[in-house]
Structure formats: C-alpha cells, structure tokens
Amino acid sequence: MLGYYLRLSLRSFRRAPGLTALMVSTIALGIAACIVTLTVYHGMSSNPIWWKNGELYAVTVNPLSPSQTRKAGDPAYGSSQLAYDDATYLSGSGIPKRETVLAFLFGAITSTPDQTRPLPVMIQATTGGFFRMFDVPFRYGGPWNAAADRGPEPVMVLSHRENAKLFGGTDSVGRTLLWSGHRFRIVGVLAPWHPLPRFYDLSAGDGGPFGRSADAFIPFQWGPTLRDWPAGHMSCSSQGSASSTYQGLLGSGCTWIGMWVELPTRAARRHFRAFLQAYAAAQRKAGIFHAVNTHLWTVSQWLSLHHIVTRRSGLLVNLAFALLTVCLINTLGILLAKFLRGAPLAGIRRALGASRRQVFAQHLVEAGVLSLAGAALGLALSAAGLAGVRLLYRGSAAAYGKFAHFDPIGIAWALALAVVATIVAGLYPAWRIGRRPPATYLKSQ
C-alpha cells in the first residue's frame, strides 16, 4: 500500500510542481536556518561536559569588599578564583569524591640536550584528580597519583598535540622533558581533547575561553615550589600591596586558583556547602573576609556566570525556533490549502471504500515525502550555511571556526524537525478531511 501512496504523492506533486517546490524549499530553509543556528549556538555555549552537570562544582568564596557597586552574580563581584591560602585549606576537606585546583603556568620545555631553543608551552598546573573528574581521555599512560601531587614529584602529562610535536605521536611515557631546570617524567599522553569552551579554566591563556587546552600538565605544587608566577587571570583587592614577591603572592588575598569539586550525592553537596560556609564565617570573624558569600556552581551556571553562554546567543536559538515556526505555519498553510482542494477526490476515494485511516495514510505519505525532501535539501543548505558561518568567523579567534563544523547533533535535530514538520503540517489537513462525511465532497458542482 505504501508504494501506492508514494505513487499518488508523486502524481500530486507533478500536478502542482511550483507549489511543491515552494513547500520543499520552505521546509529546507527553515531546517537549514535552524541547524546552522543551533550548531553555532551549540559551539558557542554548550556545556562540554553536560553528562556531569549535577556532579561537578566550581568553588568560590568571594572575599572581596562588600561595598562593591557591582551586583552579586557578576563575576567582577568578588572573584571567581581562590587565593592560595583558601584553596589550600578548602582542598583538604576530604568531603568531595574528587577535587582539583588549577592555574596556568607559562614556560618552555626542552626535550633533547642538543635542542638550542626551548619550546614555549602553556602548562596547566593541577592535580591528578583533574583527569578523572573531567573524564579526560588518555592515549598512553594515565594520570599521576596522589603521592605525586603531595611531593610534588616531577611528573608530566602531555597533550596529544604536544606529544605529536615533540615525539611524533609515539608512546612517550617514561621519557623525560626539561622544564624550569627540572627533569619531568612523562606519565601520560592524552588523546585529542579540546573541550570548547575550556570550561574548567576560563582564565586568559591563549585565546581565552575558546582557546586551546594546555600543552602539558604538571602537579599543582610545582608552581609554589619553583615560585613560578601564574600566567592566567589574577585579581588582587589591593593592587601593589605585598604582591611583588612570590611569597607575598601566596600570603596575599590575590586570587588566581581555580577549584573544582565532584559531589555526586546530595549529602556530599550539603556536607561540603556547610564546610565552605563554616570556613568563610571563620575567615570573616578573623577579619580576612568581608562577607560570607560562598558558592558552588554547576558547569552550566559557571559558563553563564562568565557570560560564555551569552544571553544573546540564547536569543539566536529563540529566533531559530521562531523561524522554524514560521516555516511550519507556512507549510501547514500551503499543504492545508492543497489538501482541502483535493478533498473532493478524497471524498470519492472514501465513497469507493477507503477508510479514514487509509486516506490519512495517503496524506501522511505525501506530507512525509515533502518533508523528507525538504530535510534533505535543508541538510545540503545548512552545509552551505555553515560554510558561510566559517567565513564569518574566520577573522576572529581561530577556535571559533571549530564550531562551524557539521555535528551529529545538528543532523539529529534536522531529522527530528522534519518529523515534526510532517506530523504537524500533514496530520491536520488529513484529519480535517477525514472528519467530515464523504458525502459532503460528492455534491455535483
């Protein structure tokens, strides 16, 4: 029967080729616009670790002045990073399943004795927990252990890119690299891993939140041990005070450390919150904090707090849906008109014994073929559209180009939208025809 319906649909399209082309291109345009917008939005604002959104939390304690003119919730209110003392204390609670602290360091590494010029690298100083918390994939080896964190031991994890650059992509675990006059042993090499935005450390680095991830990872304690100035974002409440020496930096209220905790259960969250609160209250009593204003942020809250999910890009998504609505209404209108004009023919079929379901199916097949054609054309169009977006973003940060790639989620969306288009635009007219007795359509004109 499906074959019969298909034949009837084709016949119907042939009868009104212009109208058919119009409907197909309407659906295609709507779907393409939607995919392009969603892909861009997806790239600009998505939470790269959505599957752990309820478990990972960024920790802030906001020790800055209460007399700030900015509103709470603004990242400039207080700081989204921690001071050294706070980070040290807070990571000793033992409450979270995992926890990590991080900062960017800048430096150069040397891989062979005869290398004349060291290679500049971005280094993420962090803890072994980092890799497990953020589900970082390894190509070779694995993360370092807690003992290496405490030491700190001279161990290093290389990014996929850096390993390709230094060792041609071979298994370099066990080999050593020279950084800051110390020989570091490579314990792991990552598989390609480029969460965009770089949610876990939004501070400066190369290209900001949409920049690349670090080239190498070492235990956090190496920063203080080697008195290596952090290269990421830092804010100090009292500029110039006590922070021109590294020791001064550690003792000052300057904030430069990011902290994340993994709290999978409700109890753990409550427990950790209380711990934070107690710490902030004690600090306030001691006159170090001005306010007790602690916070745990989920990844998506964290991203919107830092305006990574810009309110404007959310606007685009709404716009895309409005556009799709217009397309659907459009198709619905034309299809409805077409089907209703064909109602007398459907009436004849009913008189000849077609059941409601059969008439329904026939219309559904026709609408389905239309929307599938529209979806196919829409996919092609969106490929073109995304090429356009790449062109648009070419001038800006290199990484922006990355999210203009066709992604499976976009395709899934297109198909889902095509189905919705079919159901909405096809069912209603078919239903309207089926509702009235067939005799209505058989009156001689």
Binding site: R117, H307, R312, S313, L323, V389, L392
Partner: protein
C-alpha cells in the same frame, strides 16, 4: 472598496484557516523583524563608539621569558631603547594589559578607603613615562608622569605608599561627578591613597567583561616585573606599522635567546576582534530575519497563487458579472491587506512582549515605537508585493470560464 470588502470578508470567514495562518506568520515575522532591527541598531551603535586611540598605527607585542633566568626590567629597557631609535617608531612604552583586549588587570577605585564607601571596578593599566604618548591620548587636565616617578624594581621609591595616578575623564566623572577630580585622592583597592595628577580624554583601555565601562581606566606609573612576560606598546608614524612590527619582532626574537615574542596585536585587529561577537551576532541576526521575511513572502505568494487557481471559476463569474481587471486585483490586495492588518496587530503585541522580555532579561533599551511603525510598513509593502503577481494572474482569467464546467 467598501463594495468589494463585504463579499471578501465573507470569503475569509468561510475559510479562515489559510488567512489565520498567514496572519500568524506575519505577526511572528513582524515581531522578530522589529526586535532584531533594534538589537542590530544597538550593536552598530556600540561598535561605532570612538576608541580614543590611534588604532591604525599602534601595535602591542607580548615578550615572554622562557628560562626564568631573565630580568624583565633590563630586558624590557633594552627593547624600549632599541624601539625608540627604530626609524618609523613614534613612541614606545612597556605596559601590562593591552587596550581593546580583555588581556589586562582590573582594580576597584573609590573615594574612600576600601570598605568605607562605594567603589567602581576599573581597568588598571601600568605604564611608563611614555605611556600616554604611545597611546596617543591627550590630557584634558593636569600633567603626565615624569620619568622619575615611574616605580621600577631597581630604584627604591621615596614613599611607596603614596602614589600618583592618571584617570580617564569617564572615570573622573564617575567618581567625582561634576567636581574637579584633579588633585583629589582616590583609593585603588587598599587603604593607601593616590593623587590624581592628570585626566585624559576618554579612551578604551583593557576591556572589562562586556565592555560597558569601556572608558574607565586608571593609569599607574609602574613597570611591573613579577610576571615572566611583559607587553610592549608601539605607535609608529602613519603607515609604518607593518614594517616596524615585522622588524621589531625579528629583532626582539633574536636579541635574547631566552625571550620569545608571544602574540602580537595591532590595535585595529584588537578592535575588530573585540567586536567580533557583536558583529557576528548582527550579521547572523540580519540574515535570519531576512530569511524569515523572504519565507513569509513566499508563503503569501504561494497561498495567493493557490487561491487564484482554486477560485478561477468564482473569479470568472465575477468577471462575467462585470468586474473589471482592476477590481479583481483590488480584491486580492484588499484581502491580503485585511490579513496583514490582523497579523500586524498580533505582531505588534508580540513584538512589544518580546521587547519587554529583552529589556528585563537582556538590558536592552525599551523598544522604540518607530521600529514598530517601520516594521509594519515594510511588511505591508513586501506582502502586497508578494500577492501582486497572483493578483495579476487572477485578473487575466477570462470571464468565459464561468460558462465552462470544471
């Protein structure tokens, strides 16, 4: 008109679904069109603000230490000595933070010591004595820093607790409103006051977040040496930027085996990139809105054509009964006008609703009624154009079809 609108309305009433759908489309399109136009205009205005800088002839370059053995102060001094003698260079300075980028520091600024009064968050730009000259920003009051006032690590400052600063006009106004800020004390975060010795014309410093306070910058006389990197800001003679940049990068890269030139920024590129998000949004929004408008017109055109085909006989009968071609065209245009009016009314409410939402959630200014007016006009015009062709086609139907059976 009054004559034709009656049978027409009854036709609309008898089969309202198509008309309702068109009206819905028009409403949504109008609402989006109007708000998108408002957002795009807002973005254009924002991008149009003066930077106050010589973006064409200025660049910045970051020099980074690779070895940890190197002395930022002497290295940067050597670079500056070289740069200031390089032909084509108008001025050069060592700074921390690059104007028009978000690569820079911030500080809180207040008229009272911290926690005793309100503060403003401002960009914080350490410069040397050539800073203002390099930025090419004129003073509107007071004086520039003197070479002897620049805090450097090698010379003990007479009294490190008492500082001097230069602020932009915008910041001065924000702090002291209409009173003169010159000579006043302000507090940068801590409890030690600094005296304002100069006020500059407004310029955009290192950006703060969304750039709403783009002109708030405080300049301090200091060469910051604790980082393993420093920024050089260079202004060249007109048209010499590319040559100087290439030459300077080559020289500095080669001069010190432990130093490497990290990223270089021309201020024009920095400005371009600063607004890239806004610009892309504007382009994207305009494009989507245009697509929507086209779609809406296609829909009107399609349904119009379809109506002509299905109503051939009815139109033929009207013609047989004496309707002129003009009457038929008018019939279609009037029918469309009724639909558009309904859609426009719905669209205006929707537009105002969306505008309200944008105002509360997005901090956008209230929707200017002018936008609505223009939007309605644009839609009315384009939709009439869209229905024009089908109407002409209808007018060409010969009266003879009335006598033919279908």
């Amino acid at each position: 008109m009054a004559l034709t609108s009656h049978p027409l309305l009854s036709a609309l009433r008898r089969n309202p679904t198509g008309a309702v759908l068109i009206a819905l489309q028009i409403g949504i399109t109008l609402a989006i069109l109007v708000n998108a136009a408002a957002i795009v205009t807002h973005a254009l205005q924002k991008m149009d603000r003066p930077t106050g800088l010589d973006t064409r002839d200025t660049f910045a370059m970051e020099v980074a230490d690779l070895s940890r053995q190197f002395n930022v102060y002497s290295a940067s001094s050597a670079d500056l000595a070289y740069l200031r003698h390089l032909p084509g260079v108008a001025a050069a300075s060592v700074i921390v933070g690059i104007p028009l980028t978000d690569d820079g520091g911030t500080t809180t600024v207040g008229r009272l010591p911290e926690s005793q009064g309100p503060t403003i968050t401002s960009a914080y730009l350490p410069v040397d004595q050539q800073g203002l000259r390099t930025l090419d920003v004129p003073l509107v009051a007071g004086r520039d820093f003197r070479a002897s006032e620049i805090r450097v690590p090698t010379v003990a400052h007479p009294d490190p607790r008492i500082g001097i600063v230069i602020v932009t006009q915008a910041l001065a106004n924000a702090l002291f409103a209409h009173r003169s800020a010159l000579g006043q004390s302000i507090y940068l975060g801590g409890r030690t006051p600094s005296t304002i010795i100069g006020i500059t014309r407004n310029f955009m410093g290192p950006q703060l977040g969304g750039g709403e306070h783009a002109y708030d910058t405080v300049l301090v006389p200091e060469i910051v040496t604790q980082y393993a990197a420093y920024d050089l800001l260079v202004r060249t003679q007109p048209g010499k930027r590319a040559v100087v940049l290439r030459e300077a990068k080559r020289h500095i890269d080669a001069a010190d085996q432990n130093a490497v030139v990290g990223y270089t920024w021309t201020l024009s590129h920095a400005k371009y990139r600063m607004y890239s998000g806004l610009r892309n949004l504007a382009v994207f929004l305009s494009f989507l809105t245009l697509v929507m408008l086209v779609l809406c017109c296609l829909g009107i055109f399609g349904l119009g054509t379809f109506n002509v085909v299905t109503r051939t006989r009815q139109i033929g009968i009207r013609r047989a009964l004496g309707a002129r071609r003009r009457d038929i065209v008018t019939l279609f245009l009037a029918e469309n006008a009724i639909t558009v009016s309904a859609g426009a009314i719905f669209g205006c409410f929707l537009a105002l609703g969306i505008g309200q939402w944008l105002t509360t959630h997005d901090g956008l200014a209230r929707l200017d009624p002018w936008y609505l007016l223009v939007g309605v006009a644009v839609l009315a015009l384009t939709s009439q154009l869209a229905v024009w062709q089908p109407a002409r086609r209808a007018a060409r139907i010969p009266p003879a079809v009335a006598t033919r059976t279908i």
